[in-house]
């Protein structure tokens, strides 16, 4: 037996050596390429120098009276570009989307229902302020094939003086000096994108929460990428554009996982030095940790109650503001709630979304209608935890047809059924639905809705990223609502914990009893001899 043991020694020694090598190599740092942050910084802080000076072109040395004349001058040199613009979402206000269970639908501002002003269609004169075109009175009558109505200037203005007029169907405000603007054109800056995208919903930061006028000149604390005291990146640095097709999409109006801007595109999917953090990227989106709060500078709208709209004082509409100047009631729209420095809510998201389309029947009117359900779950290998702003609204509903109701809101003058002129619910609903060719029962009630806005901007400096313990904690975890998986620190099996605790208690009691008896016996012995 001893002899056999001796023969076994070299074999066992070899096995032990292999195990030791395996452990040591597991401990050794892995060959992770260095994070390309330094290269990225270098690349994106280079100044963009325009290759031409438009103010020198003879075609632009003239007075422009109508904006369409500017567009003609643009197309005169940039021939073919107008075709690209007319093929873009900014122009078409819709795009082809495949939605599971529904097939191919055309989705966009033309036909969408939302939980802000409910719908653009029917209110084009006002809403077309954010259309890259002129003269949109109605999506039904607008000529989407006339390139002269393309608004080149809103995106390419270099003076930051160009502005679209109120309720003018997308035309520039009368005060704009078209010649000066035309001579200044160049690569779009934060100003160009911001004039529309920061004011969606009719005011600063109303819609997104992470895109607002503080982003024109943000500090590093607000947004590390666009910071004027940092990389000073422009929107189009990430939203790269080819043939006027701008990368990036918003899931209030998108369904498919395509043409997205991703953090990983520049930063790779393993950007951390710490492997444990890199492993998180399988299930956690970059945004989840790196956008700890949004609406950092100005408040964003979080709740809207349409049902209180239409109250008048002395027969006139009125407004109320909170201490910070946010409108909390207006007769035109109802009651609002706002939030600043908000913690996002979190959802599983695989890059696809489903949509409530106007006319869809609501199955259960007692539950909030989700206007854009973001798909995903823990079990879905494509899904990651994403931060979202959830917009909650109480909005108009047809309890008989069980559909949401889009109101006719804006009209130039009273008597056309527009709620904002006449304050008559039923008439505004009737006209609004009729303009879309949808039935309306004549009854109106209100229903809760939710819309999910994935957060991508206002990326914080890395020191401000969400700490481990903000999710890995029993109480108040940021992801407390995501229950379909186990994470350490937050989750446990109450059964295992209870059994374990009793095991320890009984062990201690047993030991104490045994020790106590021993002590007692020893004392008795000593006394009794």
């Amino acid at each position: 037996m001893v002899k056999e043991m001796k023969q076994a020694v070299p074999i066992l020694a070899a096995i032990a050596l292999v195990v030791a090598v395996a452990v040591v190599s597991a401990l050794a740092p892995k060959d992770v390429p260095p994070p390309p942050l330094a290269q990225l910084k270098e690349q994106y802080t280079k100044k963009q120098n325009p290759s031409v000076d438009h103010s020198k072109f003879p075609q632009l040395q003239r007075a422009f009276t109508r904006p369409q004349e500017v567009t003609e001058a643009c197309i005169g040199c940039h021939n073919g570009r107008h075709l690209e613009v007319m093929n873009s979402n900014h122009w078409r206000w819709e795009r082809e989307e495949y939605i599971k269970g529904r097939g191919v639908v055309y989705l966009g501002k033309r036909n969408a229902v939302n939980n802000f002003c409910l719908a653009a269609a029917g209110n084009e004169l006002a809403c077309a302020k954010c259309h890259v075109g002129y003269g949109m009175e109605s999506v039904k009558t607008f000529n989407f094939n006339d390139p002269r109505n393309i608004d080149c200037l809103v995106c390419h203005d270099g003076t930051a003086t160009y502005a679209k007029g109120q309720n003018m169907g997308g035309a520039p405000a009368p005060s704009v000096n078209l010649t000066r603007v035309a001579q200044s054109v160049g690569r779009p800056t934060r100003n160009n994108c911001g004039v529309c995208h920061f004011y969606g919903g009719g005011g600063n930061n109303v819609k997104h929460g992470d895109l607002e006028e503080a982003m024109f000149e943000p500090t590093r604390e607000v947004d590390v990428h666009m910071a004027v005291d940092g990389a000073n990146m422009q929107c189009v640095d990430c939203h790269t554009t080819e043939k006027h097709n701008i990368r990036g999409q918003l899931y209030s109006l998108s369904s498919m996982n395509r043409n997205r801007v991703t953090c990983e595109g520049c930063h790779t999917s393993t950007p951390h030095e710490d492997d444990l953090l890199n492993e998180h990227t399988l299930k956690v989106a970059c945004q989840t940790c790196h956008i700890p709060t949004y609406a950092k500078v100005n408040a964003t709208k979080t709740y809207w109650d349409w049902s209180t709209a239409g109250r008048l004082r002395d027969g006139k509409p009125y407004e109320e503001e909170d201490a910070e100047g946010n409108i909390i009631y207006t007769s035109l729209k109802g009651t609002f709630e706002w939030g600043k420095n908000l913690k996002p809510e979190y959802v599983w998201f695989n890059g696809t979304a489903e949509h409530y389309l106007l006319g869809d029947k609501v199955d259960d009117p007692t539950k909030p209608v989700i206007l854009n359900r973001l798909n995903g779950s823990y079990a879905d290998p494509d899904a990651k935890i994403f931060p979202v702003k959830v917009m909650r609204t109480k909005q108009t509903f047809d309890p008989v047809n069980r559909t949401l109701v889009a109101l006719k809101l804006f009209a130039p003058k009273p008597g056309e059924g527009a709620f904002w002129k006449d304050f008559e619910w039923l008439r505004a609903a009737e006209v609004g639905m009729k303009e879309r060719g949808l039935p309306f029962s004549g009854q109106i009630s209100f229903i809760e809705t939710e819309a999910y806005w994935p957060l991508n901007h206002m990326v914080a400096p890395k020191e401000k990223a969400v700490a481990c313990s903000e999710c890995h904690t029993r109480n108040g975890s940021r992801i407390a609502s995501l229950r379909d998986f186990y994470i350490p620190g937050r989750d446990r099996s109450p059964k295992v914990d209870t059994l374990g605790r009793w095991l320890l208690i009984l062990t201690l009691l047993g030991v104490a009893a045994h020790g106590g008896l021993r002590a007692a016996a020893s004392i008795r012995r000593r006394r009794g001899g």
Binding site: A13, L282, G489, V496, D497, L508
Partner: protein
């Protein structure tokens, strides 16, 4: 009766024992913080320390396994039923009557039959449970990362629960183990032996010796 100094534990054994003791206590402390039972280091630091201690323990286990097989010490842990009755009787009754230990400790046989069974279970079931579930805890993502779908582990839940069960059992073992060290010749004689390597005793009459069992 004359006092006798009996060598029991070698230098490596004592190093191994105490290092393992410290690591297991530290792992339990940081582990239950990760579990969410309390906050001391903070989650991030607790995870970091827990991982470092885990690697150290793994390295120690590798050395210990090597030592056990090269020295033949592994045979000390082969369970036996011989004298187990006497040993149980001692802990349940004899110890209160100041009866002598039924088995005697020597360098060739330092474990009584109950200890053999306990440590055998510890080494063959409990520590592997903690180590394997711990390794899976750390590396269960790797199959996914390298795209090997077939060995993909879908959820951390069962790994974590197994690890928690192992932790509770280990802590219970530690409590029991620490108490049992007081059942030697005197309350501290076992502890002293694990520190100095020698057990000092007044030579009693030998009831039984395990030496005969050695191969």
């Amino acid at each position: 009766m004359k006092r006798k100094r009996v060598p029991i534990y070698t230098g490596f054994e004592r190093f191994w024992h105490w290092t393992q003791a410290i690591l297991i206590l530290f792992l339990a402390f940081t582990g239950f913080e990760i579990h969410g039972s309390y906050t001391f280091f903070g989650f991030e630091e607790a995870v970091r320390y827990h991982s470092v201690a885990a690697y150290l323990l793994l390295a120690l286990i590798v050395f210990a396994i090597f030592w056990h097989f090269t020295t033949g010490e592994w045979q000390q842990y082969v369970p036996t039923l011989k004298n187990i009755r006497a040993q149980l009787d001692y802990y349940l009754f004899g110890i209160f009557r100041n009866a002598p230990h039924p088995t005697r400790k020597s360098v060739l046989s330092k474990l009584n039959p109950l200890q053999r069974i306990t440590y055998f279970s510890l080494k063959v079931f409990l520590i592997p449970l903690a180590v394997v579930s711990g390794l899976l805890y750390m590396f269960y993502r790797y199959p996914t990362r390298y795209g090997i779908e077939a060995i993909n582990i879908g959820s951390l839940k069962f790994i974590a629960l197994a690890h928690t069960v192992g932790a509770f059992l280990l802590v219970a073992f530690v409590i029991l183990h620490v108490y049992m060290t007081t059942t030697g010749e005197t309350v501290f004689s076992n502890l002293r032996a694990m520190i100095t390597g020698y057990e000092e005793s007044e030579e009693p009459a030998t009831l039984s010796s395990m030496e005969g069992q050695q191969a």
